[in-house]
């Protein structure tokens, strides 16, 4: 992820530098034609979660959003002379992360080992989950300026998974081997069994996004966006997790308007 961010930052810097050189001329031309360019740095806070929470999940015992940053560039084309309505498209590098611990009951699981061994059954107990997903995301939004300083936005986003990590371990509970009638195998006294579904994650994800920004100074904006994934983080034929997992994140940060 780091290398993507660096490369992306360099590109933006280059654009910024060239923009700087011809700034007055180009921006005036662009502005008169209703174009705006913005660079943004943000923080992603949220989770990748089943919705609604299935009955198997009995409690969420801990949640840590972890450090998920975003860096994006977007252009807005205002459609009317008053600059009320517009369209915004962007390119964003972002991490959607989280750490959770949950207590589950009778949670269906199926894990394939390195040698093709299949262990399946029902887990009752603790499940720790770590999600560290890096995406290249393209938001396509409609914008509406409700106030000279405030713009509302809504639309869709398309994401490509650059690097995925969806892993964790189970602890402090027991497995019923096969089904609820199978051998009951407790994992206690600090014994855990780990899982890693990173390679099963879906590459293309999409969803809806709404948000708002506020122009604090002439060039500085603060923003908040809510993105809600509409396809599951895992493909349909992935049977280990029997319910869909949707990434739902709030992206907050500051933007620089050229």
């Amino acid at each position: 992820m780091k290398k993507y961010i660096i490369a992306f930052a360099l590109c933006l810097a280059a654009i910024g530098a060239s923009a700087q050189m011809n700034r007055t001329k180009q921006l005036i031309i662009a502005a008169t034609k209703g174009w705006e360019l913005e660079l943004r740095l943000g923080y992603n806070l949220g989770g990748t979660s089943p919705l609604p929470l299935p009955a198997e999940i009995r409690s969420i015992d801990s949640y840590n959003p972890a450090l998920g940053f975003s860096l994006d560039a977007n252009v807005t084309k205002w459609l009317d002379v008053n600059k009320k309505w517009g369209i915004q498209i962007g390119a964003k590098l972002e991490n959607k992360n989280m750490r959770t611990k949950a207590t589950v009951k009778n949670y269906n699981m199926e894990i394939i080992g390195d040698g093709g061994e299949l262990v399946k059954g029902r887990w009752t107990g603790g499940v720790q989950t770590k999600v560290d997903n890096s995406f290249l995301t393209f938001p396509i939004l409609g914008t509406y300026k409700v106030h000279p300083r405030t713009t509302l936005k809504a639309g869709v986003f398309l994401s490509y998974l650059l690097h995925g990590d969806f892993s964790g371990y189970v602890y402090d509970g027991y497995l019923r081997e096969g089904d609820p009638t199978g051998l009951k195998v407790p994992y206690t006294d600090g014994k855990t069994a780990s899982y890693d579904f990173s390679s099963d994650l879906r590459r293309f994800q999409w969803g809806v996004q709404i948000g708002a920004d506020w122009t604090a100074f002439k060039h500085l904006k603060v923003f908040g966006d809510l993105s809600w994934g509409l396809n599951s983080a895992f493909p349909k034929d992935f049977e280990t997790i029997t319910f869909s997992m949707y990434p739902i994140y709030v992206n907050m940060g500051v933007g620089y308007l050229f």
């Binding site: 979660s49 919705l51 609604p52 929470l53 299935p54 009955a55 198997e56 999940i57 009995r58 409690s59 969420i60 009951k105 009778n106 894990i111 080992g113 390195d114 040698g115 093709g116 061994e117 299949l118 262990v119 029902r122 509406y144 409700v146 509302l152 809504a154 497995l175 019923r176 081997e177 096969g178 089904d179 609820p180 009638t181 199978g182 051998l183 009951k184 195998v185 407790p186 994992y187 206690t188 006294d189 014994k191 069994a193 780990s194 709404i210 708002a212 809510l226 809600w228 739902i248």
Partner: protein
């Protein structure tokens, strides 16, 4: 337009709250017999309750035609016949009555054969009713007398090996799509038969048969096997082939593996010598509990028998006796077959090993009522209980027999 924005915000917030709350707990799906009890003085030893069966060792003087065992079952589940109802085990086939436990949600059920045993424990072992577990994966061996009456069931670590999933993979490699009848061949503990045997389903249990009779194994074959990635993950990279008298408590298998092997069956004789024959070949590469190769070290097997007194605190001596260098305050005698330093035998080796008395006196009245236990313990890797050994070590055993000092008094 502000109203529009507010509407969106409110609806999103509502949707999120409505969908992300913890739902009501689903009804229980489990249907276990957790424990079984009978009036004081009825039992020789604590009931053996595993995931599929209940075995009750009953004192000779108890009338088993009117027995009312009480069961503790999964909360919310139901049991028929009812817990505490009077049953006639005397006239039931094999002194066994089937109890059905149904889960709270009604979707799952298990039929537990509850078996009552009043027979004398055996001193000579034939493994003469070999069968498969209810999931038809691994071998289980019962001892029956010449009339076919049940005497005892051998325990092994086979149930634990199910959890690593390796046997299915190996069976599929060799047999392709028809692998399901062959999974047992890839478990660490199994039998070798003389001639053609078939798997026959009788009343829900799959038996190894020759024609109409149970197939009597030529010998028991124990092999140290790899447990694959799942075994390594829990610090148990190998599974030694093992067979022992007693009980494999899978509830302790992960957290306390040596405590999971509970040795001993009620015994009413004082043992003198432990006889039998074995054949051993160590596997090529010795690995430790982390799966790392220990160069220069070679595997060896272990064969021994414990004789001990039970009391309020000691229902079983378990595998942790290995931690204590085979010393235990309740131990009366031990017969340790000398296999040390032996990495390969020249064919079959006969042994006749005397029980060494620890000095603990035998209470003969208690002995007559089953207050003592005998535990034969055999493993294809002597340190397999610490997950140290060589994959591919094989130990074959046959003709096991205990010679007793007081046989004539019984």
């Amino acid at each position: 337009m502000n109203t529009f924005f507010k509407t969106i915000l409110v609806s999103v917030a509502t949707a999120f709250c409505a969908t992300s709350c913890i739902q009501d707990e689903a009804l229980n799906t489990e249907c276990d017999i957790l424990s079984c009890s009978l009036p004081e003085g009825y039992l020789v030893a604590a009931p053996k309750v595993d995931n599929y069966t209940v075995t009750l060792q009953i004192q000779d003087n108890v009338d088993i035609s009117k027995l009312a065992p009480e069961f503790e079952i999964t909360p919310g589940a139901t049991i028929t016949p009812a817990s505490g109802s009077v049953q006639d085990f005397l006239h039931a086939e094999n002194n066994t009555i089937n109890y059905t436990v149904t889960s709270q949600d009604g979707a799952w059920r298990k039929v537990y054969p509850v078996r009552v045993v009043q027979n004398m424990p055996p001193s000579e072992y034939f493994f003469n009713v070999p069968k498969l577990d209810p999931q038809r994966k691994y071998s289980i061996f019962d001892e029956v007398d010449t009339d076919g009456a049940f005497l005892m069931s051998w325990a092994s670590g086979n149930p634990g090996y199910v959890l690593c999933g390796v046997a299915d993979v190996e069976a599929r490699k060799k047999y392709g799509d028809s692998y399901k009848d062959h999974v047992w061949e890839f478990f660490p503990t199994r039998a070798v038969f003389n001639g053609e045997v078939s798997l026959v389903d009788r009343g829900g249990t799959t038996f190894f048969m020759v024609g109409n009779e149970p197939a009597v194994p030529e010998y028991i074959h124990l092999e140290t096997c790899s447990t694959g990635s799942f075994g390594t993950m829990v610090g148990m990279p190998i599974a030694a082939g093992n067979i022992f008298q007693g009980f494999f408590d899978i509830s302790q298998a992960i957290a306390n593996p040596r405590g999971a092997t509970k040795f001993g069956e009620p015994y009413r004789y004082v043992p003198q010598t432990f006889k039998g024959r074995y054949r051993y070949k160590a596997g090529p590469t010795f690995t430790n509990e982390k799966g790392q190769v220990e160069a220069g070290r070679q595997d060896e097997c272990s064969i021994y028998a414990l004789f001990y007194e039970t009391d309020d605190n000691v229902e079983y001596i378990d595998g942790s006796i290995h931690d204590a260098d085979f010393k235990h305050p309740n131990l009366v005698a031990i017969a340790m077959v000398d296999t040390k330093g032996q990495h390969e035998t020249n064919g079959w080796v006969e042994f006749d090993t005397p029980f060494e008395m620890t000095g603990r006196a035998v209470d003969y009245d208690k002995l007559a009522h089953g207050g003592y236990k005998i535990g034969i313990v055999i493993s294809s890797s002597a340190d397999g209980d610490y997950f140290r050994g060589a994959v591919g070590s094989t130990l074959d055993v046959a003709d096991l027999k205990i010679i007793n000092t007081n046989t004539e008094t019984e």
